[in-house]
């Protein structure tokens, strides 16, 4: 094994660094506290959603409902959590529990997660429409204050990303239960033979995904101050891309929380970078796709390096 193959984290870090350097080259004024704040403005909810998706990918499933779920939690934040904090908190708790129940259900009936989450995306989307039929609501004051806080040295988004990466790294890579959870993705049967209840582990992984989904919705509303039922629909695909950019694999429980956060930052930065390039708005989405392909191509080269 070469250095690169052993340290999966190198490629996501290098991708982010290259993109950041290119952005600074294009727009030197971005190299400041405020510049960075603007560049990574929306990174926090995307990073949290990516971590949520990573929890699901960790146990070899995929979540196609995450965007709808984050939209729903954003709608709950902008309505109930603002008007009646206690009821809002209870709704959030029941949403997390239903995510855990979903994981148990998928395991108990041996259902394809891709289809169940597909169905759930209709359910979450429907509930979101039900709660907030037209765009509106408002952000709870404390959440708004939390998201616009200006820590010394580095902007809020960067500090928050570091904290998220640190906490999830300790939880998934360092703790005992995190190792077992990754084991479910690696070899579920042997984890089961070792005496663990697989159904509980799956429920735990899904519950964690639900928790991070809720946090993503809340931080999103803290930034945008309002919500609508489709506010985070693109998070489904962004979060999957973020996990893979961060060196994760679809199967085998090979995930990296730090990588996932960096992947989410890279995707956020790609969008900012393209607007700095004064690219015609027609091509902005396409260029994001092209950057995604480019970074993944780099991953191929690096994997082949590992093989020889």
């Amino acid at each position: 094994m070469t250095f690169l193959a052993r340290h999966r984290i190198v490629l996501p870090v290098v991708s982010l660094a290259v993109l950041l350097a290119a952005t600074f080259y294009m727009q030197p004024r971005a190299m400041s506290y405020f510049g960075l704040n603007l560049l990574f403005n929306l990174a926090v909810p995307i990073a949290l959603a990516t971590i949520a998706q990573m929890m699901i990918i960790m146990v070899n499933d995929i979540d196609l409902s995450l965007g709808a779920f984050v939209s729903l939690t954003a709608c709950v934040t902008a309505t109930f959590l603002q008007d009646a904090p206690l009821i809002g908190a209870l709704i959030m708790l029941s949403l997390i529990l239903s995510y855990a129940a979903l994981g148990a259900l998928i395991h108990a009936f041996d259902l394809p997660a891709i289809v169940v989450t597909l169905g759930m995306s209709f359910v979450w989307g429907g509930l979101a429409l039900f709660i907030l039929p037209s765009p509106g609501g408002s952000s709870p004051e404390w959440l708004r204050a939390l998201m616009t806080v200006k820590p010394p040295f580095a902007p809020m988004a960067v500090v928050a990303a570091i904290i998220i990466a640190l906490v999830t790294h300790l939880l998934i890579m360092r703790s005992g239960i995190g190792t077992v959870l990754r084991g479910v993705g690696g070899n579920a049967r042997s984890v089961g033979r070792a005496g663990w209840s697989l159904i509980r582990l799956k429920a735990l992984a899904y519950g964690l995904a639900g928790l991070f989904g809720v946090l993503a919705g809340m931080t999103l509303v803290g930034l945008t101050t309002a919500a609508d039922a489709n506010i985070a629909m693109r998070y489904t695909l962004l979060s999957i891309a973020g996990v893979i950019l961060g060196g994760g694999e679809f199967i085998g429980g090979k995930v990296s929380p730090t990588g996932a956060v960096i992947g989410a930052l890279t995707l956020t930065l790609a969008a900012s970078f393209l607007s700095f390039m004064r690219l015609s708005s027609d091509w902005q989405i396409g260029a994001q796709g092209a950057i995604l392909i480019l970074v993944l191509t780099a991953r191929l080269i690096f994997r082949q390096g590992g093989r020889t």
């Binding site: 259902l111 891709i114 169905g119 759930m120 995306s121 209709f122 902005q284 396409g286 392909i293």
Partner: protein, 308 residues
């Protein structure tokens, strides 16, 4: 009851009669006609998605909506509403389909990207291309083409005939041709199929081209049917294409496909929405129930599988 497609048709019949129960039987032929018209588009993209899903775990085409939009946009732009250009338009739509399919497969094969990520990233590029080429202008289809796509033959909508013919071709190819057997074998065990001398990569390439061509046909017809191409015209067909495959009784794990089920599920997906509409359900409730029904069907199908 060892024919998985029966469930989709039973569910469709149930939704059909539940809708008519409200009107005490009036409007039956109108409802059936509408279901066949709108179901045809879902069935055509569903057939393509079914072939890809048959290839085995991880194979899915997420670029279907972008392909539909791109094919329809370019074809309608080239025709410019002039009479007698319908065949040229169809030719352009088909070539867009082939080009997209080849590009998707090139990303998957040459760059070794997981198909989910490859088709997702590429679809962003296709979408940008569609935005750039029509700039939001809505060009009307030529009159003769519009008449064809909204017309009927022997009491059935023309678009349903197209869908039925494509379904028959797909069924014959899958069940009776060498290529179909190769496809099923690759889906059941890629390694075994390769060792048995099946040109696996050729099968995969032709499948990805086929799904793109089917999506292009559906987009072309949909644009002619609804009086022009819109940038978001394909959006709902991403989840729809996967849903009809699974509800139709094809295995999400691949290697086991089911053509009649796709049509049954396509009719069901339309009928369940019209049923909920006629019972006066709002958009939110409708989505929640649609999602619940999808999950219910998947659970029913899986417990049947466990018993068998």
């Amino acid at each position: 009851m060892n024919k998985p497609w029966i469930w989709a048709w039973l569910a469709a019949a149930l939704a059909f009669s539940a809708t008519l129960g409200l009107t005490s039987g009036r409007g039956a032929s109108e409802l059936a006609y509408a279901a066949l018209s709108f179901g045809a588009f879902a069935a055509i993209v569903g057939l393509g998605q079914m072939l890809v899903i048959t290839l085995g775990p991880g194979n899915v085409d997420l670029s279907i909506p972008a392909t539909m939009t791109l094919a329809a946009t370019l074809a309608l732009k080239a025709m410019g509403g002039n009479p007698g250009t319908a065949l040229m338009g169809l030719g352009i739509a088909l070539s867009v389909g082939v080009a997209v399919g080849v590009a998707n497969y090139a990303l998957i094969f040459l760059l070794r990207l997981p198909p989910i990520i490859a088709t997702l990233a590429a679809s962003l590029v296709y979408q940008s291309f569609a935005i750039w080429s029509n700039r939001g202008l809505r060009i009307k289809p030529p009159q003769d083409l519009a008449d064809f796509s909204t017309g009927r033959l022997l009491g059935l909508p023309n678009v349903a005939w197209v869908g039925l013919v494509l379904a028959c071709i797909t069924w014959v190819v899958l069940e009776r041709s060498v290529w179909g057997r190769w496809l099923l074998a690759s889906g059941q065990n890629l390694r075994a199929a390769r060792l048995a001398g099946i040109p696996v990569e050729l099968v995969r390439a032709s499948t990805y081209v086929t799904v793109a061509v089917f999506a292009a046909i559906a987009g072309f017809l949909l644009a002619s049917f609804s009086g022009g191409a819109a940038l978001n015209m394909g959006a709902e067909y991403l989840l729809m294409s996967i849903a009809v495959v699974v509800i139709g009784g094809s295995s999400i794990a691949g290697g086991d496909s089911n053509v009649p089920g796709v049509w049954g599920a396509a009719l069901f997906m339309f009928l369940v929405v019209s049923m909920l509409n006629s019972y006066g359900a709002g958009a939110g409730v409708r989505n929640v129930l649609t999602g619940t029904i999808i999950i219910g069907i998947v659970i029913a199908a899986s417990s049947r599988r466990i018993r068998a």
